[in-house]
Assembly symmetry: C2
Homo-oligomer: 335 residues x 2
């Protein structure tokens, strides 16, 4: 496969480059695209330095598969042109997710939807992927009706600049100094705040609306109800989520445990005696989404409560995108 | 008033000493009790050094009011004896909270309950106080039926050792070193984890059960339903909580806003345009509980979602205890 990564220097682009190597994706050629200021630099792949390029004006990336995480504006403007030159674009931005003609895919959840692509497959938002890795198997078994989600989101959701800012402001705070935030609206050092995306007229921010709308599309449940509160916390990597879920039938914690134990891409971490449950520290760098605190919802008979943690750069972005590509290769839907 | 503080060197005891001075509580004498290893030390009050003492064997603290935050075991064993010598004990431990003969009081919520005390008034758990400061006014207006709560709890909930540990492990992490956690089961640096209290057979930990049982008692609603997920986050001070609440009648965000704007001890921080909502940084050192993100629950018509942050050492503990004492003084129910 001829592979291109657009947004190669970002956190997701760099993770993708590593994963292509780690998972032995059949890469015949790799092109790495970034902004002008990266010209002249190289990025390592299979022990060799791959030069960073700017996007060609004609939109021909000479690739069979393009991974794009360069931002919604670039994807919106250019993804169709990249596809018109024969590539399948796996897009990690929000540009195409809600486009009715574009499949929105988590391979373990609705992999078969990818086959209907018209040159673009959209990768869901990280918080959505992490929630649905736990909720989708439960949905298949019991019929998900309603979910309430409170997130604990790592700064790397805002890319390398979020990571740098957490380090910079934490050092300043420990030294008793105040420095101004740049990546976020507020100081993240030993603090937390409502997710920094635009708040709509209904009071929900964009991240929260994504969780609702993307979950509906991925599960094929246009009437699914999801109410989310998305919060940024001073954690480098991996998002956590406290979830309450209601189903068409009453569900016991044991039944949920059995379903999740058999679910692909899920690892149960639920050791009450050792007080060990999903933590972002443990989820970081892992492929699986960790699920624990599986218990009955004390406020509603037959409903469930659980806590999940997943690496939002890996399964929440780069890994999921690569898994989509692997699936398309396996089904000969690429090239 | 002759005042005694048991557990004077702890985070809550020190805050109480400051608040007695700041709020000009009518202190005629102040005695500070701590463990043996504090003997010989003094703690400052109104510019003078008050010596730390160990508890007398006879239980006579020579006080009209005793604030106790020395731990549940000491309070359980000794509070009645302190009271038998004429003191009213305002107890900040879990020892007496669920005792049917002991009032469990948040002055703004159920202050009148304190009058029925038999020598002991219990101060609720911090997470409960912070949640109910927002939920109780809504309950009075609309009838609270059910709440789902996800907490973001500061390390100072575990006292000074939690604070020291966050500093120590964060410094180590920034230096690329790993140090072992001592105050908590897991490393809190740039990480978060399920609250470190015992998990019961229903899968809920003690902190979560407190939120349920104490809320029922304080609101006088034995059938109230509360399902909580309590999580420790790398924040020094002030707990935050994402709350979804259902009521006997449909509630609009505007109606909730009006009720909360008029509620004592609550400050609304809900500026979507500036992306400014309750943050632990802003709540720290403040008397009021901050409430924001007031919106309709997207998953249930007529229900609400909101986000709160409150200083758990102040309103969540020391301030609430002192407010109880102030109320008893005002109503001549002390001495």
């Amino acid at each position: 496969m001829r592979v291109a990564i657009v947004g190669a220097t970002g956190a997701v682009g760099q993770e993708l480059t590593r994963l292509l190597e780690e998972r032995a994706f059949p890469v015949r050629s790799l092109r790495l695209f970034a902004s002008e200021r990266s010209l002249g630099r190289v990025q390592s792949f299979r022990g060799e330095g791959v030069p960073l390029e700017t996007l060609p004006a004609d939109g021909d990336l000479a690739a069979d598969v393009v991974f794009s995480s360069a931002g919604g504006t670039i994807s919106k403007e250019q993804a169709r042109r990249w596809a018109s030159h024969g590539a399948v674009v796996i897009d990690n931005t929000s540009a195409w997710r809600m486009d009715p003609a574009t499949p929105l895919v988590i391979p373990e959840v609705n992999g078969s939807a990818a086959g209907a692509h018209r040159g673009i497959v959209a990768n869901p938002n990280c918080s959505t992927i992490i929630a649905l890795m736990a909720l989708a198997p439960l949905h298949r078994a019991f019929g998900l009706r309603r979910a309430t989600v409170a997130t604990y989101q790592a700064v790397s959701g805002a890319g390398a600049k979020g990571i740098d800012e957490l380090t910079r402001l934490t050092r300043a705070a420990l030294d008793g100094r105040h420095e101004e935030p740049e990546a976020f609206d507020h100081d993240i050092a030993f603090n937390l705040f409502s997710h920094d995306s635009e708040v709509g007229p209904d009071g929900y921010n964009l991240e929260e609306r994504k969780l609702l709308l993307e979950s509906r599309k991925i599960l094929g449940q246009p009437h699914l109800k999801v109410s989310a509160t998305c919060v940024r916390v001073p954690v480098y990597r991996a998002h956590s989520e406290a979830i309450h879920a209601e189903f068409d039938v009453p569900v016991t914690p044991d039944a949920a445990h059995a379903v999740l134990a058999a679910a692909a891409g899920v690892r149960i971490v639920d050791d009450a005696a050792a007080n060990r449950f999903p933590m972002p520290r443990d989820a970081s760098g892992r492929d699986e989404v960790l699920v624990g605190r599986i218990r009955g919802d004390a406020s509603r008979d037959g409903a469930l409560a659980l806590f999940v943690a997943g690496d939002q750069i890996r399964k929440g972005a780069a890994l999921n995108a690569l898994q989509i590509a692997e699936m398309l290769v396996a089904e000969s839907l690429l090239a």
